[in-house]
Symmetry: C2
Subunit: 312 residues, 2 copies
């Protein structure tokens, strides 16, 4: 065993990633090889407002930096929900954490930590995490869909997050899959997130007279052979298939990942999804395009945030 | 005036671009500033088969090279319809020019010309041409849709053509806009090219009892106020709007270009297209995204082909 003083500094180089989710805050120190050196979580309820959130974020990051040293810190990355104005470091339209909206969060965190901070949308960070250490390892071009309350999208092109000109690329949850489909808060009808998210599953179950169930309960019913619950997953798979075909026809990337708790029901919706997507995409039918479950679960965003300082 | 011998060689550097269309072949020598130094066209009917096409391509390129000199030739680029296997330099599934399918056309042309040749899909080349010298000049990220018999797509991301892993990216004509819409030769129902191309216009006119008209004749009728002809353009605009919203939500690029002869009817379909797209894209509604007619007409592919040797 080498004593730590004999290990070259770059071999213990690490980054701090922070994932600001809709319900909690998690941070980790992760080294270049993807090993989590240490982790921490916030304690604030987001309803308490901006200042406690900011203090929690600073505490989490500063605590990890103290434990693992300033000298080896490659950088700090933060994943947050909402549209990010990359140039200004401001979160716009964060539906879940309105307290951090339209505030120079990047610069304020940077000031308090006396270190640069990189801000990224949480779905983009999750895609980056899968590219770095998950199912997308070694794949430079991939699209990831995270199915939750809504549907988040992240696009990795040539090893980098595709941001678009306003940081609003990969708003894949709001792509139309049913032209006169379910109304969406964004003003559209038939957004895929109103037909294939966890929320859509509960909504469709209600429409079919199954009552007010959680998506996991609809899943249980379907696994027990309930016809109506099975049709919910069938419909959800078909909607996802239309989106998937669109993505394959647009990008011809080698890998498409589906993430979120809903992938527990993969066997219930994936056959319909693949059948629909293949029918609608010549490319999918004729190439060895992979469509798979993401591998990092709810750690993807944390890994992606930590990878931000290293990302080209 | 300087005599030509005093002009540095690189100031007269030029590339040869060749656009192999569905009905004819055009080539041009174009300098780095986008000035066409000279042009030529092929004489072969594509029905005559592969060898006459190849001979025509070689003649056109060799003739231009002879006129403008080998020393200043930066490279040779060729745009062809169909899926291109970039690694192998082979055209797969070229619906229009089957004679060149599944044949090592790039290497064979390179051998006959004794010079490297760069192959590109024609719709990609057209997008690149608009990026270089057309409406997309100075814009590094854009999507271009060419409406003709089908709908061709080209995506320029960070100044380069987005190819995907098999060279099959930007197959935008086969994106579903009407889940149970018109059947398409690709096996899908409701591909946008069956709802918004020149072919779709003639098909919809026929369905509405207007008879067998060319798309230009449907346009004339609509301009004369014919209600049914107007509805054809309305429907076509709405279908295009669904695709456009999808592209904006996916890429958040600053510019989307529409090309093809059908843009003569811009005033007839663009209002419906924009209304539909805005309804379906928060990003389009809240940013200064540009949606415009392409500027180079049927010269875009020629410019794009010539630009291939200079493209990063």
């Amino acid at each position: 065993m080498l004593s730590s003083s004999l290990i070259p500094a770059n071999s213990t180089s690490y980054a701090i990633g922070l994932d600001l989710g809709g319900t909690n805050l998690r941070a980790a120190a992760i080294d270049r090889s993807g090993t989590i050196l240490g982790r921490t979580a916030g304690r604030t309820h987001f309803s308490e407002g901006r200042e406690p959130i900011l203090a929690d974020m600073v505490d989490a990051i500063a605590g990890l930096r103290e434990r693992f040293g300033v000298g080896n810190l490659a950088g700090i990355g933060i994943g947050v929900p909402g549209f990010i104005s990359l140039r200004e470091g401001i979160v716009r339209n964060s539906n879940n954490i309105t307290a951090i909206e339209n505030f120079p969060i990047r610069d304020e965190l940077s000031r308090r930590l006396n270190a640069p901070v990189i801000l990224e949308n949480d779905a983009n960070a999750a895609a980056l995490g899968e590219h770095w250490m998950g199912t997308g390892r070694g794949i430079n071009d991939l699209v990831m869909l995270t199915l939750g309350t809504g549907i988040g999208g992240g696009i990795i092109s040539d090893g980098r997050v595709l941001h678009g000109v306003n940081g609003m690329a990969a708003e894949l949850g709001h792509i139309t899959v049913v032209p006169n489909g379910n109304p969406c808060g964004c003003g559209n009808l038939g957004c895929v997130e109103k037909h294939a998210s966890a929320t859509a599953i509960t909504g469709m179950a209600r429409m079919l007279g199954l009552g007010d169930l959680k998506s996991s309960e609809v899943y249980e019913l379907a696994m027990d052979g309930n016809e109506r619950a099975l049709r919910v997953f069938q419909s959800m798979g078909e909607s996802l298939g239309i989106l998937l075909a669109m993505l394959v026809n647009t990008f011809n990337f080698p890998l498409y990942l589906i993430a979120g708790g809903v992938i527990a029901g993969w066997d219930l919706f994936a056959p319909a999804m693949m059948a629909e997507a293949k029918r609608r995409s010549f490319t999918l039918r004729t190439t060895d395009t992979r469509v798979e479950r993401a591998g990092l679960g709810n750690e993807a965003g944390l890994f992606g945030a930590a990878y931000l300082p290293w990302c080209k």
